[in-house]
Symmetry: C2
Subunit: 350 residues, 2 copies
């Protein structure tokens, strides 16, 4: 009679941050792939593209021109999904048709003047400058007392819906608390009420003891594949200090975060020797809405690739209708990423 | 001073089936698209492909050969994500690392012997045969008392991760109740406890009164764009009779469902004159787990296309990290689908 093994038997794992389960099918990697093979976007952009609305000096949709910036550059999204001047209003018919207005502010951050320079190829100092912009933007958006949540994120790569290859990130801030943040608030609050400790601090301590899913650590941050990861090479950066937002990061922490991002994204690029696509973003406490002592800052990376630079995981039928599902185990993914060099493959090859 | 309008101002809408909100940004369709343009898979397959593991008479991965079937054909998935013989077991370390074994059975249904015949191109009679297979499979899977939920679905098109273009659907059945079903159970149960009526029956009545989002109706089913739709052309088929699973459908209902599927998928194909990709699937009550009087059978269609056959909506950064978001309004999508002919464009063109 067989015994149950996480690395070979189908099972579910609990996401302690959302309370949701993921279905893991470790044996399913044997499945041959006859489906869609993605085009790999050629990685040969020039340093400057006269048609790019993010390059220094070029024009943008709102008629403005970008300054000749030398580090990073921030502006209001010209096609923002959320607008500041949305009038108040709502609708409720029999609790069946229910809607509310939603105000917001959307910002775009060009990471570097160079059209072809992605985060892993930037220096730790240059990434630190981006972290500084994130912190400043967070602080100044939070000055609007009607803003309750600030989502800082990056869509990297065409396959992740990125509409301009010039490396950039976005910030969407809004008057309500979005779904994923509401879930993580509830779970962290419950844990904190019982233990008087941060859920993620305790989780990180256990992961350090086990040492099966940690990919990288420095003085202030740990990078790991969460036990409940959904995307094949999903990872999370957790701050070692229990702080509830980027606002509280010291100079030393910001530099450490830049280093953690550089190491992780370099390993990602090395995995399939491609500019590794992902959506990544920070989760932190809501603002202007009371006190959130339970919240513990972290950053999620959700990359779609599964087998190679051109074969991704599809979150489709079963996943959309029933439950998230993954094929390789988080431990397998963590080992692969641990093995990867911290020197970018483009440099090793020259 | 402006007044709040659902068709022009950013707002959130409540999904009454899950309790979650979607962010709607109606003004955002003006955004130019410079991002990824999908390859459109050429729609010129032969009726029979000797290399296809679903065509009659051909060999499959498990060594078996398919029979020379003439309607539809069902077999166990050769690369199932869930397996019947998974040993019992679980894990819990400090409520931080939590896992459970998961048993299941996965089936594949070839819709027709013809390699190139999708649902909209099949006759109502031939689709009725598929509905019969769904009902039979549901009934026989439910005979396994350890199975608690049966997810019937179809991934259509390469862009939806479909790994074989021969039209087929899948069934994943399992020992636990998956996430989306747990959410819909809770919401329907709460409504039923208060009103002693089905949530979806009341919702459908209100939609019939408003007549803004209904695309098609016959004696037994209505097809509509739900008020809270997330995907650009997302729709739902709702049974007019309050039954909690496909098990209870009469012969007349099964034929009506086949007709509703034919009409909807034909309109979909006509929208961008392409074989319209989607993931679709039924939601119904769990099995072998007590009585679910609140549950109301329905079928969701989640299609990714937004602007054309080659430009899809990306559910990425903000959507993955914070909240689902859509650009066109559900009312706009419903109008477009209402306008579409019920004669397939390939027939109109010949
Ligand atoms: O089972 P298939 O068609 O090989 O695979 C497809 O559908 C499954 C169920 O939605 C997904 O888990 C896979 O990612 C997808 O590629
Ligand atoms: O804002 P962008 O880069 O034009 O658009 C991209 O990111 C947004 C935020 O995640 C998504 O809503 C869009 O679907 C995606 O294409």
């Amino acid at each position: 009679n067989q015994t149950f093994e996480l690395d070979s038997n189908p099972h579910t794992r609990l996401n302690i941050l959302t309370g949701e389960w993921v279905l893991v099918s470790p044996h399913r990697t044997k499945r041959p792939w006859q489906g869609k093979v993605e085009d790999v976007t050629p990685d040969n952009r020039p340093e400057y593209d006269p048609k790019c609305y993010l390059c220094p000096g070029n024009g943008r949709a709102d008629g403005d021109s970008n300054p000749e910036y030398t580090e990073s550059f921030v502006f209001n999204n010209d096609f923002a999904a959320l607008l500041e001047d949305t009038p108040a209003g709502d609708m409720n018919e029999d609790d069946l048709l229910v809607a509310n207005n939603q105000r917001g502010l959307c910002r775009v951050i060009s990471f570097s003047p160079k059209h072809n320079l992605t985060l892993p190829e930037m220096s730790v100092e240059a990434i630190t400058a981006v972290v500084n912009v994130w912190q400043n933007e967070f602080n100044s958006l939070a000055e609007n007392d009607w803003i309750k949540y600030i989502q800082i994120f990056e869509n990297k790569g065409e396959i992740m819906g990125c509409s301009n290859p010039h490396p950039h990130g976005q910030i969407w801030s809004q008057g309500d608390i979005p779904l994923e943040i509401a879930k993580e608030t509830e779970r962290q609050k419950t844990y904190y009420a019982i233990h008087r400790r941060s859920l993620l601090a305790d989780y990180l301590k256990l992961e350090q003891k086990k040492n099966e899913r940690i990919i990288f650590e420095n003085d202030h941050f740990a990078v790991l594949v969460p036990f409940w990861a959904v995307w094949p090479y999903e990872t999370m950066i957790i701050s070692k200090r229990h702080v509830n937002s980027i606002k509280l990061f010291t100079e030393a922490e910001k530099k450490s975060l830049a280093e953690a991002i550089k190491v992780l994204t370099t390993k990602y690029d090395n995995l399939f020797e491609t500019s590794f696509p992902y959506s990544a973003g920070m989760h932190q406490a809501p603002v202007n809405n009371g006190y959130y002592p339970e919240w513990h800052w972290h950053m999620h990376f959700y990359p779609p690739l599964l087998r190679s630079a051109s074969v991704k995981k599809f979150m489709v039928g079963y996943e959309m209708l029933a439950n998230p599902q993954r094929d390789i185990t988080p431990e397998f993914a963590a080992n692969r990423l641990k093995e990867m060099s911290t020197t970018h493959y483009k440099i090793s090859k020259t």
